[in-house]
């Protein structure tokens, strides 16, 4: 049954016990993304790791359906502390997976491969992507602030 394929136990588990939910105090960039059709929302912060400027620390708070919440929890597992290049590759991969353009790769998405079933429900794809789009937006902004700070200090 397609429905069970979308709502795999691993998804429901992330939904009921989300990883890393809660906003960090310090951050370089904060974004607030919403899905205007259903009202799901996420606030996501990206902090540049003070010890390793290549690494991006993620924190978030959100409300929404099981898919959007589980997806954010999975995103936290996968992208927290990763570089922009790694994160961007993961975003590209999940987008492609949800357009059924690639086979899911567990090395890139971790539990995120369980979101594959969402591709059968086009109206839910936005739910699954909400946090990933927010991450990309925030990451770019965070790196932008760093560059401008560097520029200013030059």
């Amino acid at each position: 049954m397609k429905l069970e394929h979308m709502y795999q136990d691993i998804i429901l588990d992330h939904y009921k016990h989300p990883h890393g939910k809660g906003l960090a105090e310090d951050f370089n960039a904060e974004v607030h993304h919403v899905n205007p059709t259903c009202g799901d929302e996420i606030t996501l912060r990206v902090t540049i790791d003070p010890d390793d400027h290549k690494k991006l620390i993620v924190s978030y708070d959100n409300q929404g359906c099981s898919i959007s919440q589980a997806s954010a929890s999975i995103l936290f597992d996968q992208l927290n502390g990763k570089t922009f290049a790694e994160g961007e590759a993961a975003v590209d991969h999940i987008v492609a997976m949800l357009q059924r353009a690639v086979e899911p790769d567990e090395d890139i998405l971790g539990d995120g491969i369980a979101l594959e079933g969402v591709a059968q429900y086009p109206a839910r794809v936005k739910c699954a992507l909400l946090s990933w789009m927010a991450w990309k937006d925030a990451a770019i902004q965070a790196l932008g602030t760093e560059n401008s700070t560097q520029n200013e200090s030059n």
Partner: protein
């Protein structure tokens, strides 16, 4: 309800014969978003294209004459349906455009007046000054909220609103405080598309009249579901959409009091709404033409007229009674499920057939998905009435809406599927 034969009605709606999600019967409980269309409406539209298609009001040849006659006869029929005169009905693409037509009237009259440009006699009624007030309610669809926010933003007028009580009704006590000497327009819905609440039009009209404010009624959820008579209602403007009352997509209606329509500068301008045109100066036609720029949607108007015939044949009293019965049943069955909470009035007096609810522990989007898997089409989300969700502290709701082609078995299916959703998500 001896006169109400749902099975016969269903046979007129081709889409209800289809299945969804691997062979499930379609249980369509989303008529509040858009209704389905009987073949009579589809035939009327097609017949227009196959026999009489021409640009209305722009030709003198035979099919142009026929197209124009069909368009104007449809206008008269649709007007009659709401107790109006034909020439007081303006066709738009949807109710949203109809409401914007009124909100932009205020903007355009204000700007032209500031610059001393020509305005029709009586247009002063629409001129706003800094600090003038626009009143809406907290239960408006975005279509009757955002245009007024925008108008306020652009003119310096102030948007105020009438709040809601905990049981999903308008707070009439506060309405008396909010509608005052600076109020220039009171825009409100006849029936909330999220709560189902039917508002007391006469009471708001009386308050608005006492301060000489223009009243704008959003009748999107009333005209399709009950007998509506604009004269009885006493409002100044009324907007609704054809697609929610068995009619085609792409056609909306604005009714306006004749003396107000006459006093309005145009909104969208172009062909067929002019009197004379030179490069230097244009004068405008009388209503309704003044507000119908461009080649009109004649086929859609003809289709809507067929929808009106269809509803008239059933009788709007019977439509309302049938819906009241289904609504009562739905509220009873849903309220009986532990963990389900209805957002909106739970008694059926002054209440339409939109039944919104939340299920503890299951997000509406997920509820909708489980229902959909069983072939039950409901709407989930904020239903373009986000402030109502905020008011009742829910992120969104699941909403079932009923119409003439729904029956008791579909209500049972809804309630049973909600229980399944609870099971699925282990709550």
């Amino acid at each position: 309800m001896t006169t109400f034969d749902v099975a016969a009605i269903r046979a007129d709606f081709p889409i209800l014969g289809r299945t969804v999600r691997d062979g499930r019967r379609l249980v369509y409980l989303d008529s509040g978003a858009t209704s389905q269309k009987p073949f009579q409406v589809l035939d009327a539209e097609r017949d227009f294209y196959e026999k009489h298609n021409a640009a209305v009001h722009r030709g003198a040849h035979q099919i142009a004459e026929e197209a124009t006659d069909a368009y104007e006869a449809a206008r008269a029929n649709i007007a009659h349906f709401v107790g109006a005169q034909a020439n007081d009905i303006v066709f738009t693409k949807n109710a949203t455009e109809a409401i914007n037509l009124v909100s932009y009237t205020f903007l355009n009259a204000t700007l032209k007046s500031l610059r001393g440009k020509d305005l029709p006699k009586g247009a002063q009624r629409f001129v706003l000054a800094e600090g003038d007030e626009i009143v809406v309610t907290e239960m408006e669809h975005h279509a009757n909220l955002v245009p007024w926010q925008e108008l306020a933003d652009k003119t310096g007028a102030v948007l105020r609103w009438i709040g809601l009580t905990d049981d999903g009704r308008l707070d009439y006590d506060s309405a008396k405080l909010i509608i005052g000497s600076r109020t220039k327009v009171v825009a409100f819905t006849h029936q909330s598309n999220l709560l189902g609440t039917v508002n007391h039009v006469a009471q708001l009209v009386e308050l608005a009249k006492s301060v000489n404010a223009v009243t704008v009624l959003d009748a999107c959820q009333s005209v399709p579901h009950m007998a509506v008579d604009v004269v009885d209602l006493g409002v100044d403007f009324m907007a609704w959409s054809g697609h929610k009352m068995l009619g085609p997509l792409g056609i909306g209606c604005l009714w306006g009091r004749a003396e107000l329509l006459n006093a309005m500068p145009p909104f969208i301008t172009g062909g067929s709404m002019i009197e004379t045109v030179s490069m230097e100066k244009t004068t405008f036609a009388a209503p309704p033409a003044r507000f119908e720029a461009g080649v009109p949607q004649a086929a859609q108007v003809v289709g809507l007229s067929a929808a009106v015939d269809y509803l008239n044949a059933i009788g709007m009293g019977n439509v309302a009674a049938h819906e009241r019965h289904l609504t009562q049943l739905a509220i009873t069955e849903l309220a009986a499920i532990p963990g389900v909470r209805i957002i909106g009035p739970t008694d059926t007096s002054n209440r339409g057939s939109a039944v919104s609810f939340v299920v503890d522990g299951v997000h509406p989007h997920d509820v909708g998905q489980i229902l959909d898997e069983q072939g039950i089409a409901v709407r989930v989300g904020h239903h373009c009435a986000w402030p109502v969700c905020r008011r009742y502290s829910v992120p969104a709701t699941t909403r079932a809406t009923f119409y003439i082609y729904n029956d008791d078995s579909e209500v049972h299916a809804l309630a049973s599927a909600v229980r399944d959703a609870q099971k699925f998500f282990g709550v």
